[in-house]
């Protein structure tokens, strides 16, 4: 299975799901001639047609470079998955432990994940970085960040 075939199949599924979701949009007495479902359904049909064209193209085009890239791609996907997980953990942790500890953890873990070490220097830089961003956003720009449980202690 080559890359274009995979993309075409994926987009065909997206078009089908989107079309199904568009049919669930309720009718309205205020609706115009096109209606709230009109263009979404058209978009889904166009995407499905384009997907079929891409699948068709992929059957007769030769992709020489894809086998050599596949092993690299799987490694890269793991790295992206790790980076994404760090971001998700930040989203989960920030409302509980607050902005500065969550951001310091994000900086420290990302540094380690990118090939750095975990030692006192990295910990110091991470905490300093988090405090710097807190000063920048909260103190200087007046933009609140997640407070966590800290305000309830005082």
């Amino acid at each position: 299975m080559n890359r274009d075939f995979a993309l075409g199949s994926l987009m065909l599924m997206v078009a089908g799901s989107y079309y199904a979701a568009a049919t669930l949009i309720p009718e309205s007495q205020l609706a115009d001639a096109v209606g709230p479902q009109g263009l979404p359904r058209s978009y889904a049909v166009v995407l499905a047609l384009l997907s079929l064209v891409l699948i068709g193209q992929s059957r007769w085009r030769v992709h020489k470079d894809e086998d050599t890239e596949s092993s690299h791609s799987s490694r890269a996907l793991w790295r992206v998955g790790g980076m994404l997980l760090i971001g998700v953990l930040y989203i989960v942790a920030a409302p509980w432990i607050g902005y500065i500890p969550a951001l310091a953890a994000l900086i420290m873990v990302t540094t380690y994940y990118q090939g750095g070490l975990i030692n006192r220097r990295v910990a110091l830089v991470s905490v300093s970085g988090a405090v710097f961003f807190w000063l920048l956003f909260v103190v200087l720009l007046g933009i609140p960040q997640p407070a966590g449980f800290w305000p309830s202690l005082f």
């Binding site: 949009i25 609706a31 490694r75 992206v80 990118q114 970085g129």
Partner: protein, 492 residues
């Protein structure tokens, strides 16, 4: 007009915004892999709480600064900081090997300044003329304008027309999330209150450009370190000014043409300018071996593009490059819709932007000289720290838009989508165009039909609408013919 622009310099915080934007742009542009659009996308959340004029000046100045910043690692470590600086590598790095790194950096800065001023003059002269038909625009004309904007997707999809169109349709689909513009019904919100107002284009841009790049960079090796003592800028002397005048003019003219062309941008223009400068040079043999003209032409070209790329975006609301799409996002988050009416309803913002761009070009020379040491310090930091701090900046900045961690999650989601699009070789700009123009096309298309009692001929009866649709058809046909010819060439 000039007295108004001059007054703006002292009555609004344009000067600090321009200097700050240029400084940020130079730093971002100097980091290999961080393009002007990514540098701007990283700054976008910060501008949310600012007044519109300084916010937009800061974003546009970032674009100006990043185009110069990209030449710093191109000259010093043979690694272009931005794609547009790739042409500068050839002679810039050769000059560095000859011990002329300071001269090369000075020529880059000086030529960027000349190109930027040239582009600004063209921007001011052309944009107002294009937008002079503002008051004649009807809903049908706006819908047709949106279709014209979408038609450029075909020319942005050089590698695969089908994938470009797919990305555009995906963008249109994303634009339908939220409240329906005519009936007020909720669409694709899945009972989530956060989705009622739709997905802000800023999240799409930060995710696609900044976060996906972070993901890509996470698997790349670090870059070469630069010894600090080798980078003192030396501006060219009058004799050199004379020698550089022709390549700078060539670069500026090519930058003007490419800037307004959809998908043209700094990269194409800098390579074209390099080739043309070599063709017209009296010292052809020096090209490739450290020619000052080989640095001047591409640098003038990509800085001209930083201004002329704003012409279609400001006058028609159609971004022709990734960077102008991000600047468009800056307009949208302040409730300003670029296009014909902007010049009538918010002329003060446009005047402020012109003044800011002039200030930015002057600031580039001053800040560019002063920022050399901080830039080299930044490029020399361990890559894991840089990546971690950019991630922290994105997470904090996106949250700041509406104090919502849900938005951080959405931006991360678009980061993953952007990574997948890179994997499948789908271009970003068609999707951004779809997201940005989708609402305008749908709402005006349906309003025009309501006003005409459902008569679709209204789009051909309205002169502006008909004219724009004809241009869109010509554009689309031309792109399809070019794709077919490219395909035939590839097969033969």
């Amino acid at each position: 007009m000039f007295s108004t622009l001059f007054e703006l310099l002292f009555t609004t915080p344009i000067v600090p915004a321009a200097f700050g934007g240029v400084a940020w742009g130079i730093l971002g542009g100097a980091l290999p892999g961080i393009s002007p659009s990514i540098t701007m996308a990283l700054l976008l959340p910060f501008t949310y709480g600012m007044d519109p004029t300084p916010a937009l000046v800061m974003l546009a100045s970032t674009y100006v600064g990043a185009e110069y910043g990209g030449s710093i690692p191109a000259i010093l470590i043979r690694t272009p900081g931005t794609n547009a600086a790739a042409a500068t590598v050839v002679d810039g790095y050769a000059m560095k090997l000859q011990g002329k790194a300071g001269e090369a950096l000075g020529i880059s800065l000086y030529s960027g300044f000349i190109g930027g001023l040239f582009g600004l003059i063209v921007l001011v002269l052309l944009t107002e003329r294009l937008s002079s038909v503002a008051l004649a625009f009807t809903p049908a004309a706006y819908a047709a304008l949106g279709v014209l904007g979408l038609s450029i997707i075909a020319s942005l999809s050089r590698e695969s027309l089908v994938k470009g169109l797919m990305a555009g349709v995906l963008g249109l689909m994303i634009s339908t999330i939220g409240t329906d513009p005519v009936t007020g019904l909720n669409r694709f919100t899945f009972d989530s209150p956060e989705l009622l107002s739709g997905i802000p284009p800023i999240l799409v841009m930060v995710g696609l450009y900044a976060i996906s790049e972070l993901f890509v960079q996470s698997g790349e090796p670090g870059w070469e370190h630069v010894p600090r003592e080798k980078a003192r800028i030396k501006f060219p002397n009058p004799a050199m000014w004379k020698r550089l005048a022709i390549p700078q003019l060539i670069g500026s003219v090519i930058g003007t043409i490419e800037g307004v062309m959809p998908g043209g941008g700094g990269t194409v223009s800098s390579f074209l300018a390099y080739n043309e400068a070599r063709r017209w040079s009296k010292h052809k043999e020096e090209f490739g071996h450290g020619s000052p003209e080989g640095v001047a032409a591409p640098e003038a070209a990509n800085n001209t593009v930083a201004c002329t790329a704003l012409i279609p975006m400001l006058s028609l609301g159609i971004p022709s490059s990734n960077s102008s799409a991000v600047l468009l996002g800056g307009f949208l988050i302040h409730g300003l819709v670029p296009g014909p009416l902007l010049f009538v309803q918010h002329s003060e913002v446009i005047n402020g932007l012109y003044t800011g761009l002039f200030t930015a070009n002057v600031a580039m020379v001053i800040v560019g000289y002063l920022m050399m040491t901080p830039c080299l310090w930044l490029v020399s930091r361990p890559k894991p720290f840089l990546m971690a701090f950019i991630y922290a900046l994105v997470a904090s900045g996106v949250y700041a838009i509406e104090n919502s961690l849900f938005h951080v999650g959405v931006a991360l989601g678009f980061g993953v989508l952007g990574y997948a699009m890179r994997y499948f070789k789908m271009p970003f700009l068609p999707m951004v165009l779809g997201v940005v123009l989708g609402f305008m096309v749908e709402s005006n298309y349906r309003r025009a039909l309501v006003l005409s009692g459902g008569d679709r001929m209204t789009f051909l009866q309205d002169r502006i609408s008909a004219g724009l649709l004809i241009v869109a058809v010509i554009f689309l046909t031309g792109s399809l013919v070019r794709h077919a010819m490219d395909h035939r060439h590839a097969r033969s």
